[in-house]
């Protein structure tokens, strides 16, 4: 996907038909969570086959849990690898988070403590994954609602992990905005500290401000102007990486998603072409 402007859309079962029958929805590629599709048969397998025929697919995982202290779920990673091979998926991204503790899945993305020991631990696990999937993992900066006894800044933490693991970075610009608000730092300064040469994928989404001091990364609202501005700034420092619009619910007016994708494309074209 390099050297091109490509704007994708998260594929959700609730709006699956729109990707096939709505001419107003025209993503350049789609992204899905392997956890919702691996080992699935029947109706949804048919849909997945059709999807792969029509679109390039990227995989965005939810349960790899690179920060956990349980053994890496090798069988699961192997399943993801087979899934990627079957549907010609080139990009497998995951979250810089933990989603499992004490052998219990939590089905959410919790923040890894910004500590040196975490960097060493997570980098080793990412390398293990990369050995199995035979490509670089693309790791995402997550939104978080509290930090855990941090020894360093988030920017230092993310940068060191990418460097040490030899992985790629999925830069979620909305998450940068959300975190900068919730944890009171400068979003532009954070972008400046990111290893831009490692960024291979961008996420954009809407969020919800639930109180004066808390924004939740909902993926349920439209992108606000401040995040578009931060995206403009971010893309001015990059070239030709795929951009994905995430929307998990609030699908009342589906054409809004196409408008958002076109807005993102316009900014990318301005900065890249």
């Amino acid at each position: 996907m390099a050297n091109k402007v490509e704007i994708g859309l998260g594929f959700r079962k609730e709006i699956a038909d729109e990707f096939f029958h709505n001419e107003n929805i025209r993503p350049d590629f789609v992204e899905l969570a392997p956890e919702n599709w691996v080992d699935m048969g029947g109706y949804w397998k048919q849909v997945l086959n059709q999807l792969a025929d029509k679109y390039q697919i990227t995989a965005h995982g939810l349960s790899l849990s690179v920060g956990s202290y349980e053994d890496l779920d090798i069988e699961f990673v192997k399943k993801v690898k087979l899934f990627m091979d079957e549907f010609n998926i080139q990009i497998y991204s995951e979250h810089l988070s933990f989603a499992k503790t004490q052998n219990a899945h939590l089905y959410d993305l919790l923040p890894i403590p910004f500590k040196q020991e975490s960097i060493d631990h997570v980098a080793d696990r990412i390398k293990q994954v990369q050995d199995i999937i035979q490509r670089q993992l693309v790791i995402e900066n997550v939104s978080y609602y509290t930090s855990l006894e941090p020894e360093m800044s988030e920017a230092e933490f993310v940068t060191e992990i990418v460097e040490k693991a030899g992985c790629k970075l999925l830069l979620d610009v909305n998450n940068v905005y959300v975190n900068s608000f919730n944890h009171n730092y400068d979003a532009y300064g954070f972008i400046d500290k990111m290893p831009m040469e490692s960024v291979s994928y961008i996420h954009m989404a809407g969020h919800k401000k639930v109180s004066d001091d808390l924004i939740i990364d909902t993926h349920g609202e439209s992108i606000i102007d401040e995040v578009y501005k931060l995206f403009d700034y971010t893309t001015s420092k990059l070239s030709g990486v795929p951009v994905l619009l995430e929307r998990d619910f609030n699908f009342d007016d589906i054409s809004d998603l196409q408008i958002e994708m076109e807005s993102l494309k316009k900014i990318c074209k301005k900065n890249w072409l």
Binding site: Y69, Q102, H105, T146, E149
Partner: protein, 254 residues
């Protein structure tokens, strides 16, 4: 958080503490953290899990009073260590958890385990991995040729006829029930069919022992040491003809 909050020394300790908090709600003290943030995680994760259960078990949820259903979900969330990577499979673990906690007895709903399993089977059959269909031919003699079963099926034996439950009057008598859930090979919908005791025996002889209906009936007569009335045999044959039409059977062995 105040100065008496515990200092966690390792990342693993911290992560375990967060995991314990979000599942149990028992307050933990971690320095330099936002309590509101912890609470938000707890809320988001519980809602995610509760949402998956509400979708999987609409009948059970409608029968059980809201506060008790909420208690069951909270207990599951707190005490159960979820094993699957796939949220859609988590309801299966909930069925097992409810059995282990004996909610059927505690809530005085003796059919609950059967009902939860019945509801789960619909979801499992709909979503489960494709199973390759065996070879078959479309035409044959229903009595003397061997039927080929749709492999995407599951025969469940219940103590209660939970497929007949009326959510307005959910009291049902204990009657052994045989339900086959299956995925229609054309529509991909999850279907179910209730079998009589004789038809369940026949189903097993046909699908496991690969016998034709006529031979299977003969074997059953030998096993029960009793002749099956001709009328019943005809009824069963007609019933299996219907199952063939409805895609539980794909055709006949070639």
């Amino acid at each position: 958080m105040n100065n008496s909050d515990k200092k966690y020394y390792t990342a693993e300790e911290l992560q375990n503490a967060i995991g314990s908090f979000v599942r149990s709600g028992d307050r933990i003290g971690i320095k330099n953290t936002k309590e509101k943030g912890f609470l938000k995680y707890r809320e988001l994760i519980f809602n995610n899990i509760a949402g998956a259960m509400n979708i999987a078990f609409p009948i059970s949820k409608s029968i059980i009073p809201d506060d008790l259903w909420e208690e069951m979900l909270q207990s599951f969330f707190t005490n159960h260590k979820a094993k699957t990577n796939f949220v859609w499979e988590l309801p299966k673990e909930f069925v097992e958890y409810c059995k282990s906690e004996d909610y059927a007895k505690n809530l005085k709903l003796p059919f609950l385990n059967d009902l939860l399993n019945f509801e789960w089977m619909e979801m499992e059959i709909f979503n489960m991995k494709d199973i390759e269909h065996p070879a078959f031919v479309g035409s044959g003699n229903i009595e003397t040729d061997i039927l080929v079963v749709n492999p995407e099926h599951s025969l469940q034996v219940y103590d209660y006829p939970v497929h007949k439950i009326d959510i307005e009057r959910p009291k049902i008598e204990k009657v052994k029930s045989f339900i086959v859930s299956y995925r229609h090979s054309e529509t991909k919908d999850a279907e179910f069919v209730s079998l009589s005791f004789l038809d369940a025996l026949l189903f097993e002889k046909i699908t496991v022992d690969e016998l034709a209906i006529k031979d299977a009936l003969h074997i059953i007569e030998e096993e029960i040491q009793q002749e099956i009335p001709e009328e019943l045999k005809q009824k069963s044959t007609q019933f299996f003809t219907k199952l063939l039409e409805n895609n539980l059977f794909l055709g006949f062995k070639s």
